[in-house]
C-alpha cells in the first residue's frame, strides 16, 4: 500500500493535508481514505477483531490519563444482553488544550468514523458525542458531518448494507469544566447536573443509565480508523514502543508560534519548543512549561532538556503529557500571579460535591488573593501546601485530586517568589503575566 508509505514518512496521521473551507466535508474526506476503515471493519472484521487490533496497536487514551483504549473496550462483554454505549468526550476544557477543537473543525468525519467503528466493536446501537457548550464552529462541523453520514448510509439503519445499525446523538454541554470527567459527563448526558461518582463500579460495567459505557476522547477515536487502515504492526512503527503513534499538542502562552501541532511520540521536547514553535516571544528565555493542561505539574527550562515527548519520559521528568495542552512561560513572569489565575479557575469550576475541593479551592484562592494584595503572612506557604495535600486522594474525581497540584508544583519550583511577595508585600516581577500586552497602552485616551 503506497498510501501507508506516504503517511508514515511524515508521521502525521491527522495534520497531513491542506486545510481549506471544504476539506472537512464527506466528499473530501473520502479522498483521504475516508470511511475505508469502517468498510473494512464492517465487512471483514468481527467486533472482537476490531478491539484486538486496537489493543495490539497499543493505542493510549488521549484525554489525559493515557489508559490503553483496547483494554477499556475489552472490559465490555459482548452478548451480555445489555445495551452498550460509546461516548466521545469532546468536552475539551482543560486550560491550554485546544487540539480536539482542531480535530472536530478539520477532521469531523474522521472522529465520527472512529466513533462508529468503536460502537461496532462494542455492538452499540446508540452512540453519543458530548461536546462542550461554548464550541460553535466545532459543533456545527460535527453536526454537518453527522447529517452527511446519515444521508450517505454511514449512520442509521443497516449501515452500508451490512446489517449493523447505529444512531449518533450530538449532545451539547452548557458550561462546566467537570463534565470533561467521564462519570460527570454521563450524569450530564442523563440530563442532570454534572457530578462525578465513585468507582467501582467502573463505567464500562455501569455507565450511562447504568449500562456498560466506554468514554473515549476525540483524539483517541480519530486514531481508530488509522489503526484499522494501517494495521497494528505498521501503527506501532510510529512513536515509541510504550507510546505508539502521535500526539496532538496545543501550545500557547509566551510562545512565538502558538497553535496545534502533531508530533510523533519520542520527539525531542526542546527541539519542539525552540525550533518548531520558534522559541519564546520576543526572543526571551523560557522560564517553565505547563506540560499538558494546568492540572499537570510544571517543569522548568532545565527539566525538559533531553526529555522526549512521550508518556514515560514526561513521567520520568516529574510530570505528565496529560491532554497535550502545553503552556510556555517566559522569564520575568510572576509565578504568584500565575498561581492565582490557576487557583481562581479551580475554585470557579469545583462542582461542590466533595468538601476538600469545594472548600479548599476557595480557601487557596483567598490566600493567594491576600498575598497578591500585599497582605501575605509567613504561614501562608505551608497552609497552601496543606490544603493542596488534603485534596489529593480525598475527592471522588481525579480533577479534585489534581486541583491543588498546580499551585504546589509552582511553589516547589519558585518558593522564593512567594516568600519575596509575602515579605515585601509586592511581586518580584512587578506582577507581570505578559511578554507583550496588546492592551498595555490601550487605555490612554479612554474616558473613565
Amino acid at each position: 500500500m503506497s498510501i501507508v508509505a506516504t503517511e508514515l514518512s511524515g508521521t502525521k496521521f491527522f495534520m497531513n493535508f491542506p486545510v481549506t473551507d471544504t476539506s472537512h466535508t464527506l466528499a473530501e474526506y473520502r479522498t483521504r481514505f475516508g470511511y475505508q476503515a469502517l468498510e473494512k471493519a464492517l465487512r471483514e472484521m468481527s467486533p472482537t477483531d476490531v478491539t484486538k487490533e486496537v489493543a495490539a496497536a497499543g493505542l493510549l487514551g488521549h484525554g489525559g490519563a493515557a489508559f490503553p483504549a483496547g483494554r477499556k473496550w475489552g472490559v465490555v462483554k459482548l452478548g451480555d444482553g445489555e445495551p452498550h454505549y460509546v461516548c466521545m468526550n469532546a468536552d475539551e476544557g482543560e486550560p491550554g488544550t485546544f487540539k480536539d477543537r482542531w480535530l472536530m473543525e478539520c477532521v469531523p468525519h474522521m472522529a465520527l468514523e472512529g466513533l462508529i467503528i468503536g460502537s461496532y466493536a462494542l455492538q452499540g446501537r446508540h452512540a453519543f458525542i458530548y461536546i462542550r457548550g461554548e464550541f460553535d464552529l466545532a459543533y456545527r462541523r460535527m453536526a454537518e458531518a453527522i447529517e452527511e453520514a446519515y444521508a450517505a448510509g454511514l449512520l442509521g439503519e443497516n449501515i452500508l448494507g451490512t446489517g449493523y445499525s447505529l444512531d449518533v446523538v450530538l449532545y451539547r454541554g452548557a458550561g462546566s469544566y467537570v463534565c470533561g470527567e467521564a462519570s460527570a459527563m454521563l450524569a450530564s448526558l442523563e440530563g442532570k447536573k454534572g457530578w462525578p461518582r465513585n468507582r467501582p463500579p467502573r463505567l464500562t460495567v455501569k455507565g450511562l443509565y447504568q449500562k456498560p459505557t466506554v468514554v473515549n476522547n476525540v483524539e483517541t477515536l480519530v486514531n481508530v480508523p488509522v489503526i484499522l487502515r494501517l494495521g497494528a504492526v505498521e501503527f506501532k512503527k510510529v512513536g515509541t514502543p510504550k507510546s505508539p503513534g502521535t500526539q496532538m499538542i496545543s501550545i500557547s502562552g509566551h510562545i512565538a508560534k502558538p497553535g496545534v501541532y502533531e508530533v510523533e511520540y519520542g520527539y525531542l521536547w526542546t527541539k519542539f519548543i525552540y525550533e518548531d514553535c520558534g522559541g519564546i516571544q520576543n526572543g526571551k528565555a523560557l522560564k517553565c512549561i505547563i506540560p499538558g493542561g494546568v492540572s499537570t505539574k510544571i517543569l522548568n527550562a532545565s527539566e525538559i532538556e533531553g526529555v522526549t515527548l512521550d508518556h514515560n519520559s514526561a513521567v520520568a521528568a516529574g510530570s505528565q503529557l496529560g491532554s497535550g495542552g502545553m503552556i510556555a512561560v517566559a522569564e520575568g513572569t510572576c509565578m504568584v500571579r500565575l498561581a492565582q489565575v490557576i487557583q481562581r479557575f479551580y475554585h470557579h469550576e469545583s462542582c461542590g460535591q466533595c468538601t476538600p475541593c469545594r472548600e479548599g479551592m476557595g480557601w487557596m484562592e483567598r490566600i493567594l488573593n491576600r498575598i497578591v494584595a500585599g497582605g501575605g503572612r509567613p504561614e501562608d506557604i505551608d497552609r497552601l501546601y496543606q490544603i493542596s495535600q488534603a485534596n489529593d486522594g480525598t475527592t471522588i474525581c481525579s480533577l479534585g485530586d489534581s486541583a491543588g497540584y498546580a499551585c504546589s508544583a509552582i511553589m516547589d519550583h519558585y518558593r522564593e517568589e512567594f516568600e519575596y511577595y509575602i515579605t515585601n508585600g509586592r511581586s518580584m516581577y512587578d506582577g507581570n503575566l505578559t511578554v507583550e500586552d496588546p492592551f498595555a497602552s490601550a487605555l490612554v485616551g479612554v474616558a473613565s
Binding site: 445495551p83 475539551e92 476544557g93 486550560p95 491550554g96 488544550t97 485546544f98 480536539d100 477543537r101 446501537r125 446508540h126 462542550r132 457548550g133 461554548e134 464550541f135 460553535d136 449518533v168 446523538v169 449532545y171 451539547r172 454541554g173 452548557a174 458550561g175 462546566s176 469544566y177 448526558l189 442523563e190 440530563g191 442532570k192 447536573k193 454534572g194 443509565y209 496545543s250 501550545i251 500557547s252 502562552g253 509566551h254 502558538p258 497553535g259 496545534v260 494546568v294 495542552g325 503552556i327 512561560v329 513572569t333 500565575l338 489565575v341 490557576i342 479557575f345 470557579h348 462542582c351 503575566l433 507583550e436 500586552d437 496588546p438 492592551f439 498595555a440 490601550a442 487605555l443 473613565s448
Partner: protein, 162 residues
C-alpha cells in the same frame, strides 16, 4: 401548558428519534439551551413546563439551570461579551482586554449596560488559547484581539462609535 415550551415540543420530539427509549430526561439540557435561545433566559414557566413535558423531578431541572454556567435566569444584554481570563489569555493580555471593555462600555464584569445592549462577563478557558486574547460575543469567537479590533467590533455591534 402554554407558551414557549409548548411551541418547541415538536422540535424536541424530532430529537428524541435518535435517542434510545427511556432517555427522555436527557433532553433537559438540549431543551433548556433551545428555550434560552428563543427567550434569552430561562423563565419560571419554562422550568414548570419542561418538568411536566419530560416527566422528571422539578429539582433536576432547577439543579441543571443552576449548575451550568451558560444558563441564565435573567435577561442579558443584546450582545453577551464573554472574555476568557484563564492562564493563556492572561499571559497574552486578557486583563487589559477586560479593562478596555469596561472602560468602553462603562460597566464592570457581571454587569449590563443601562441601554441593555451589552453584558460583560469573564469566563474560564474557551479552548482558544493559541489565539489569545479572545472573547465570545453571542456564539462567535473573536480571537487575537487588539484594541483596534475590539473597538471596530463594538462599533459594528452598536452601529456607531462608542
Amino acid at each position: 401548558m402554554t407558551g414557549l415550551v409548548q411551541r418547541l415540543i415538536p422540535e424536541f420530539e424530532v430529537w428524541k428519534r435518535r435517542y434510545p427509549a427511556g432517555f427522555e430526561g436527557s433532553l433537559s439540557i438540549p431543551a433548556l439551551r433551545r428555550i434560552q435561545e428563543e427567550r434569552g433566559y430561562i423563565a419560571d414557566e419554562d422550568i414548570a413546563d419542561l418538568t411536566a413535558y419530560l416527566g422528571v423531578p422539578r429539582t433536576q431541572i432547577d439543579e441543571v439551570v443552576a449548575f451550568y454556567t451558560q444558563f441564565t435566569r435573567k435577561p442579558l444584554g443584546t450582545h453577551h461579551i464573554q472574555v476568557c481570563h484563564n492562564v493563556s489569555c492572561s499571559m497574552r493580555g486578557a486583563e487589559g482586554l477586560v479593562k478596555h471593555l469596561s472602560a468602553r462600555l462603562g460597566i464592570k464584569p457581571g454587569e449590563t449596560t443601562t441601554d441593555g445592549q451589552f453584558t460583560l462577563t469573564t469566563v474560564e478557558c474557551l479552548a482558544s488559547c493559541g489565539t489569545a486574547p479572545m472573547m465570545m460575543v453571542g456564539d462567535a469567537f473573536f480571537e487575537n484581539l487588539t484594541p483596534a479590533s475590539v473597538d471596530a467590533l463594538l462599533t459594528e455591534l452598536t452601529g456607531s462609535a462608542l
